[in-house]
Symmetry: C2
Subunit: 124 residues, 2 copies
């Protein structure tokens, strides 16, 4: 299984992180682990990838952070979605669907050379 490339993932990590936080507050290290575990073999994010995105998201006021000490004594910076982040996630999702539609329209037509795994229904 090949790892996913940067240029493929580009612009999607923000959405992925928002999606994780959509399920409830979490902190950087856990987010990295969860995403990697969730997409084992395909996604292998480093901490140097995720933390800057978190800082950018906070800067854009989509998420808020709060330092908290876990039961194991470690300080953790918990992030949670705020209204702006919630809206951003919804918008990102819409954008994702649009992209999927475009790719389907353009690539789909000549993609018969590489048949799709399965897709019985049309546009995603």
């Amino acid at each position: 299984m090949t790892r996913i490339r940067k240029q493929t993932l580009d612009g999607k990590i923000e959405t992925l992180i928002l999606a994780v936080l959509e399920d409830g507050p979490s902190y950087g290290y856990a987010i990295v682990k969860q995403l990697n575990r969730r997409c084992d073999g395909i996604l292998k994010l480093g901490e140097g990838t995720v933390y800057p995105v978190l800082h950018r998201l906070e800067e854009k006021q989509m998420i808020s952070s709060k330092w908290q000490t876990a039961e194991n004594g470690r300080p953790r910076k918990y992030y949670r979605l705020n209204r702006k982040g919630h809206r951003a996630f919804a918008e990102n999702l819409r954008q994702w669907r649009m992209l999927a539609s475009v790719m389907e329209k353009v690539v789909g037509s000549c993609a018969s050379i590489l048949p799709k795994p399965q897709l019985k229904g049309g546009i995603i």
Copy 2:
């Protein structure tokens, strides 16, 4: 209908152009028009977007160019896929499927807030 954002499209234009050329040789201006027409309302690429990508693709030896004069007297630079480009397109397609799978896994679970248009089959 909102236009698709840069960060959403990021890294996909190369694939889109390769897809068009997969159907036969073409030239820059026509490629722009075709992509925009094909995805009317969503995609609005400028020439300043496409030409640099064509140059990069040629630099990476995925496509080759050949000047040719059209019947209307205008000089056109026709591009065609070569073997490397063909392989790159297949790889890009694989990457796209991987991305779709990742997005499905992570976003799909909590995406119930924004129900998908239709999808009866699972992974794209």
